[in-house]
Amino acid sequence: MGFISRIKEQYAVSDDFFILNDYLLETPVILMGFNSLMDWTLTKQNLQTYINTAADTGLGLEEFRTVLGQVETASGMDKASAGLLQGKLIIYFEQENSFIVMDTVARTLDRSITPPVNENVFQGTLSSFTEDINSNIGILRKQIQSSHVNVSSYTIGSEETRQLTLVYYEGHADVNLIEKIKMQIEQNKHQQIDNLQQLSQRMMGFRNWTLVPNLNQTELPEEAANFLRNGRALLFMDRLPVAVVLPSLLWDIFVLGSDRHMPLPLMMFLRALRVIGVMLTLILPGTYVALVSVNPEVLRIELALSIAQTREGIPYPAIVEIVLMLLILELIIEASIRLPKNIGPTITMVGGIILGEAVVQAKLVSNLLIIILAATTIANSTIIGLQQSLSLRIAKYIIVILAAIYGVFGIMEGLVLVFAYLSSLHPFGIPYTSIMRCKKEVNHG
């Protein structure tokens, strides 16, 4: 089957595909492309300009062809297909059975660079990554102007292709880490990757059943640059407006690169707040359950009595009470993400009524629990990264359950369990709990 008939068979069903007969320096050619991906009018004008110039300077067909692009023999379809899907123009020469993939004027299909949506910036660079992988790398290159920032691109997937780019800072990143990542990508190049779950499992070979995200991600070029300087590797996937950070470490949930725009004591204060936030999220709900139902004697008698008073008339044990309210809280958080921005406040209001007054007045839960819940939710939000904060939200249930059975002892052992779990993770042989700085510095716990 000829080249043209194969192309036709594959693409002619799509209405945005065009195939035209034309003449190039009096040689019959066939032009093909997707007019949804390129601006055909402008491209045609460009092509005409080329032809006119060539005619004026008396350029032969052979030389002219090399000006337009690399000449390929039309034996395989792969290059032509890839070019078409990337919005290139294919110029096919029937006589020689060869083609050229020519660059075109692309349609603007990407949004411009905007402030981040999912992460907030406090006194730092405002731009954020977009869907276009080349813009992302460009932004990053503007952020770090160094000849040591290396970029290696891979085309992954077999049926559906996608661009994956690895960025690292030579001299800062551990050579072994980069080698391992490159090897993983080379090995699993043919896997179809649509999302980060597949990236982590199929491409990087991480286990899927981990409670903590294997891949850290950031929208902020400034943070991404900081990660690079600290020896991490970044992965960009086309159409994904985040930089994926490898490896993900515990330290990342407390530390933001832009903290360093502040004086040292202020920075330390902020980071300490985040640590306290994590501890409170883990401990507070468990403490309520433990102190109310298992170990009231730990409290001063006045306090124990006043807590008992707030629970007067509440018909079920503390664990049911707290799990019920935590569940409602989780539902509110999830609902406010789902809803469009102009209906969102309704949820806040309705949720506020439930949590604020009604549920206490109806004697369904105690006053104190509302305080605990509010404090927990606030504390939970202090840490960096939405996925990490979700892990933390789940971890607190483990401690609540242990606290309901074992009291304060359960909280302590629950914490040890959480610590043990965090310690047991080591992506690419780097312990999750380690602090990663420049290479060759020793990790201390």
């Binding site: 409290l299 001063r300 040890v416 369990l417 610590f419 310690s423 709990t433």
Partner: protein
């Protein structure tokens, strides 16, 4: 991989966990006055043991003591590793049962013993399965949480101290004949044996262990002297856990909790838990190396089950004490033979290496 800091901290935490429970009671009942003498003597023995042990370990390079004994020839593994294994197993059983009993006495009067022991064992087994790296990192994280609490309450426990109780300073060496004195070696022995099992995985600077040991000395003294100085010898000797009783007497008006002992206690239990896990891991290593037929993964499941059954089979508190007493013979055997044998075998090994180098 060099993990000096993690290993040193682990050594420190494990000993802190061992110091505050039984040790003060044993020392206080072993002598009437001059408690520093038994403490210092015990500490010297400990220091001597780790000196010999560390010296021996530095001879054997990147090997651990299991392979050292296995290479030493017939009979030696049986003579040295079997008692170690039995000792480790007994320690796990005693510590586990002991902690569970304490827990029910202090604050979980309604929770059944088996539930507490199950939680302990599950967490210990989880960490042991994940390996020594996980254990060390968990230790450091737990320590970061618990150490401030322990330091704060140790400092606060000086609240009710009456310094006149410190006299008379010396009372002779009558404690040598007292069995309680030998019981007190529980805090000095056993905690450091794990240092010999780490080598193929991690290396560490041996000097730091000595520094950690020296930092421990004040805690040994505090644990004995705080109850003595708070209550006086006559009263303190009547308590089972004098240090905990002394802590109970503290009143911090700015704290909303009535019994701060509970937090101190929990931190100590966590350290004991680290000790338990370390011993469990070491036991699994010894058994799986000596009997290669058993896969380590099966062992990590089977051993905790066996230990759990053994713990449940102990009828009551008196039997725990009896077991503890029996174990003290084994303890002295292990503490004396393991460092010495490591030293001599290590020296022999090094001489062999030197000979080969000379050839």
């Amino acid at each position: 991989m060099d993990r000096t800091w993690q290993i040193t901290l682990m050594y420190f935490f494990i000993h802190l966990g061992l110091i505050f429970f039984l040790y003060p009671g044993d020392v206080i009942s072993s002598t009437n006055d001059g408690h520093w003498l038994p403490v210092i003597i015990g500490f010297m023995v400990h220091l001597a043991a780790i000196t010999v042990y560390m010296k021996g370990l530095s001879f054997i390079g990147r090997r651990d003591i299991i392979s050292l004994y296995l290479e030493a020839g017939k009979g030696w593994p049986l003579l040295l590793l079997l008692p170690v294994t039995v000792y480790f197993l007994l320690i796990i059983i005693i510590t586990l049962r002991y902690c569970a009993e304490m827990m029910t006495i202090v604050f979980l009067s309604n929770t059944p013993l088996w539930a507490i022991m199950l939680l302990f064992l599950l967490i210990a087994a989880f960490i042991a399965i994940k390996g020594i790296g996980t254990l060390l990192r968990t230790g450091v994280l737990t320590g970061m949480l618990c150490l401030p609490v322990i330091l704060l309450f140790t400092a606060a426990s000086f609240q009710n101290v009456d310094w006149r109780y410190i006299f008379p300073l010396a009372d002779g060496f009558a404690f040598f004949t007292d069995s309680d004195f030998y019981q007190s070696f529980f805090a000095f022995a056993g905690g450091f044996l794990f240092l010999g099992f780490l080598q193929p995985y991690f290396t560490y600077r041996k000097k730091n262990i000595f520094i950690a040991a020296l930092v421990l000395l004040p805690f040994f003294l505090f644990s004995v002297y705080i109850p003595v100085l708070t209550f006086g010898q006559a009263t303190a000797s009547t308590f089972h856990f004098p240090f905990i009783a002394a802590l109970d007497s503290i009143n911090l008006s700015w704290l909303m909790f009535d019994r701060i002992t509970i937090f101190f206690f929990l931190c100590l239990i966590s350290f004991t838990m680290l000790f338990l896990t370390m011993v469990l891991w070491s036991t699994i290593r010894v058994i799986s190396r000596c009997i290669p037929v058993i896969k380590p993964s099966y062992l990590t499941f089977a051993l905790p089950v066996l230990i759990f059954i053994a713990c449940m089979a102990i009828p009551n508190w008196e039997d725990v004490k009896l077991l503890f007493e029996w174990n003290s013979y084994l303890r002295f055997y292990v503490v004396i033979t393991i460092p010495l044998s490591t030293y001599f075998f290590g020296k022999r090994l090094q001489r062999k290496v030197d000979c080969h180098a000379a050839d």
